[in-house]
């Protein structure tokens, strides 16, 4: 039955054709066996524990690193070889296409990975390793998380005509960051402490890591399916991205939350920063041309609100969420003022949300020009000048008030003044967008 389910997916089957040959089927266990035997013979006194550690190392190399390379290439290669249109023209549904690619492109890596996991299991039992099952599952979920996240990332950025993306470069940057993050999390959770406090509950570190990896692996697979749906022109309503922001907010608030804080105050602040980060990521990785916004305008004019939501970019959803979290953070401010010694910048939630709105408007201003080739690069340059260079020069020149006008995220004039200045920024940026729209309407 499992065999039938797997071979009935043409995308999975195609990947198996490409990944497996008799030679490779024999080579993987033979080479792994040779390496593991050499390790076992190297130190006969610690054979079993060495095998356990080596199996983990081989798994990380074969599934996490090599598998990530293959998962990263699965979309990039289709685009490069011009076979992506054929796939988009097929009658395969988004889910079949997603799991066909996720487990098909990495099938050979999982073949080697399963051998490593079997060695881990037997040596773990023989060595009486108390955490062998937790480790085994954590490694597996981390592999799935990495592969699914790379597929989602490449699909999400496939519409951008950047060489870095077309060559899979953005995936490699993500792989490096992901491996550094995984290493830090493993070191932080397992090596340095036995337990984690999450929403005031003491959870054993390895169990917490396993749970976290399971949660994020599920989120990554879901994300890959959602982005695949859009790539296959199966339109979806934009609830998943803000829902993921909410999940992250609850997850991280649970880590930072302590008995002395109110959960809502923490949730408001953590949620705001997560919504800001997620908005900036999508703002600069989604196409924001005037064409996209014209589609929305036409759907709004015809009252096609479902179509309007289906074509809405992701970043406005987390922008809206950022304002909701800013409201929550502001309402819980009175409690926080009495207890916290956090830097001033954190006391201005609405100013931060408005800054995101201003920056989005600046990007749209450049994107709505048909002549601008690199609107995202120009927007980033402008933001660096507005947020860093100009305030710095003003301070050097002793013009503190002018510096505050450029960067009003300072509590010395109060939250209301910060809000007023940031509202002025937003008004100017939105005015520029309106001017650009009027000037460069499509024929």
């Amino acid at each position: 039955m499992i065999h039938a389910a797997f071979t009935s997916n043409p995308e999975f089957k195609r990947n198996l054709w490409l990944s497996f040959s008799t030679h490779r089927l024999i080579a993987m266990p033979a080479l792994l066996g040779l390496f593991l035997l050499a390790i076992a013979l190297h130190n006969p006194e610690k054979t079993v524990s060495n095998l356990y550690q080596s199996a983990i190392t081989f798994f990380i190399f074969i599934v996490w690193l090599w598998g990530a390379r293959n998962a990263n290439a699965t979309i990039v290669d289709e685009l490069r070889d011009k076979t992506w249109d054929q796939q988009r023209m097929s009658a395969l549904g988004p889910w079949a296409m997603t799991w066909g690619k996720l487990f098909g492109a990495t099938a050979f890596n999982w073949y080697g990975g399963v051998i490593c996991l079997l060695v881990m299991m037997f040596s773990g039992i023989a060595d009486e390793q108390p955490y062998w099952l937790t480790d085994l599952l954590s490694l597996t979920f981390a592999g799935i998380l990495l592969h699914a996240a790379l597929i989602a990332l490449n699909l999400h950025t496939s519409q951008l005509e950047m060489r870095l993306i077309q060559r899979g470069g953005i995936g490699w940057i993500a792989i490096i960051f992901a491996l550094i993050a995984l290493r830090s999390v493993v070191t932080g959770l397992i090596t340095n402490s036995d337990s984690v406090t999450w929403w005031n509950a003491e959870i054993e570190s390895r169990q917490f890591l396993l749970g976290s990896l399971l949660l994020f692996a599920a989120c990554a697979v879901f994300a890959a399916w959602r982005v695949m749906s859009n790539a296959l022109q199966v339109r979806t309503l934009p609830w998943a991205w803000p829902s993921f922001a909410l999940i992250l907010a609850v997850y991280f608030t649970g880590l930072f939350h302590s008995d002395g804080d109110t959960p809502l105050y923490m949730l408001g602040h953590v949620g705001l920063y997560i919504a800001l980060l997620m908005s900036y990521i999508t703002l600069f990785t989604e196409p924001n041309t005037q064409l996209n916004w014209n589609r929305l305008r036409l759907r709004q004019q015809t009252g096609d609100w479902r179509g309007w939501l289906e074509h809405l970019p992701l970043w406005p959803t987390t922008l809206l969420l950022a304002f909701c979290f800013a409201l929550l953070a502001t309402l819980s401010q009175s409690f926080w003022m009495a207890h916290s010694k956090l830097p001033d910048i954190f006391s201005l939630p609405f100013s931060l949300a408005l800054m995101l709105l201003r920056d989005a408007a600046i990007l749209l201003f450049f994107s709505f020009s048909a002549k601008t080739r690199q609107p995202a690069a120009l927007a980033i340059l402008s933001l660096v000048v507005i947020n860093l260079v100009l305030p710095l020069y003003c301070r050097i020149g002793g013009l503190d008030l002018l510096s505050y006008f450029f960067m009003p995220l300072d509590d010395k004039y109060g939250a209301v003044a910060s809000l007023m200045v940031m509202l002025t920024h937003v008004a100017i940026a939105l005015g520029l967008v309106a001017w650009r729209l009027g000037k460069s309407r499509q024929p």
Binding site: S8, P10, E11, K13, R14, W17, L18, D81, K82, T83, D85, Q86, Q87, R88, M89, S90, A91, L92, G93, L232, Q233, V234, T289, Q290, L291, N294, R295, L298, H311, A370, K371, Q442, P443
Partner: protein, 310 residues
Amino acid sequence: MIEISNLTFDYPGQRALDNVSLTVAEGSVTALVGPNGAGKTTLMRCIAGLETPLSGSIEVAGMNVIEQPREVHRIMGYLSDFFGLYQELTVAQCLEYAAASQGLPAGRIAEAIQQTAAQLDLTGRLQQASGSLSRGLRQRVAVGQAIIHQPKVLLLDEPASGLDPEARAHLATLFRELQARGMTLLVSSHILAELDEYSTHLLALRNGRVLESRALSAPATLDGHRSLHISLAAPDARLADWLKQQAKIISKNVSADFADIDFQGDLAAQAALLSNLIKSGFAVASFAEHKENLQQSYLRSVAQHLEKTA
């Protein structure tokens, strides 16, 4: 079979399709012609559900392409101008993947592969890696992938580019066979002579607008316009002046021994014209309707369009 209404598609700073409305008849072979940048590929990609238009609607066999793209794909085949093949797969594997991914039942796939390979003269190459094939053979495999599931509608963007004359003739025969089986084909090409061999309809695009859309067997205009070719047995210097004096005639190309003219009138008027020529002492050797080929038809459409917009 294909109904398009008010389709508009924009690229940054440029309108690729401007309020395009058209109908493609079931069982027809429509030649999609136009200069580079006319919007041919964009139109095909919109029909295929690969691009989302700014506005307008596209229906294929009664299904809305924008709302039900996956359902439409089951009855549609598309060969892109810049197609790709899985280089490491054999021809048989490429065809099997295409058949299965288009929803063909597992039990029918083997038969479909053999049938398609036979149609495209690929039977002897089924076990060859597609990456090792010549450009022409690769093109045939790509066509095979597009037709293996016996789609009702087949969209072909420059299907014959890179093919040798023999392969082109083979392809023309194949398209005629597919049409005979009831398939609707929309074919774009720059080589109009090639389209002439199998097209039943003409769809001309220019600057994202429909210049002309009609059946090729139907008269080009409703007022009885026809092209006539007159040749004389011996040169006669009076011919050009004589033709100028006749009503309902526009001379296009006249010399002392032949004339190509646009004539507006019914068959009785045409008979009267022949009679007058003979009565006037011209040694008429031949007097025949000259059927417009696709290239002439297209160029005339362009000339009329330019005249109107001038």
